[in-house]
Symmetry: C2
Subunit: 98 residues, 2 copies
Amino acid sequence: MAVKVLAEEAPGELRFAELRRRIPGISQKMLSATLQSLVRDGLVARRVEPTVPPAVHYRLTELGLSLERPLSALRVWAETHMPEIDRNNQLADESPPN
Amino acid sequence: MAVKVLAEEAPGELRFAELRRRIPGISQKMLSATLQSLVRDGLVARRVEPTVPPAVHYRLTELGLSLERPLSALRVWAETHMPEIDRNNQLADESPPN
């Protein structure tokens, strides 16, 4: 989800607070850990602007951008088929276990 | 990984033991939980042959097959870029934290 939001902004950057605003329901801790891991993998670049307080900006790297296409295909699949999967789960709840 | 192995066999079926043999390092418990979840979602069909002991066969459904293409694209991306990601992680270990 962080990759998707950053891809929408690419090649531009987003600040932490703006990223968080665009990912409903994510905690500060979870987003922070996700970004740290993406930066470590080289998918996201982090730039600290030496203001007071420091402004931290994030953008997708070339590697991160190359992930967006296959990830987006999977996202589209999930969004397309989620109603069917939800129905299958409901049916499984209703039928007796075997 | 279970989806990949079943896709290689599609539209044929695989028995539990054969599936496990083709997924190196997976535990019986983990494979069993994975298959249960895939069956519940409607991605995999389970067929019990009433022999003694019963033989249990698994195959991808149409829905499961439709997942294979986007999932495969993501797998190819991961395999292609894993060396680069590993290098990035090594560099992160070597450079001082900031």
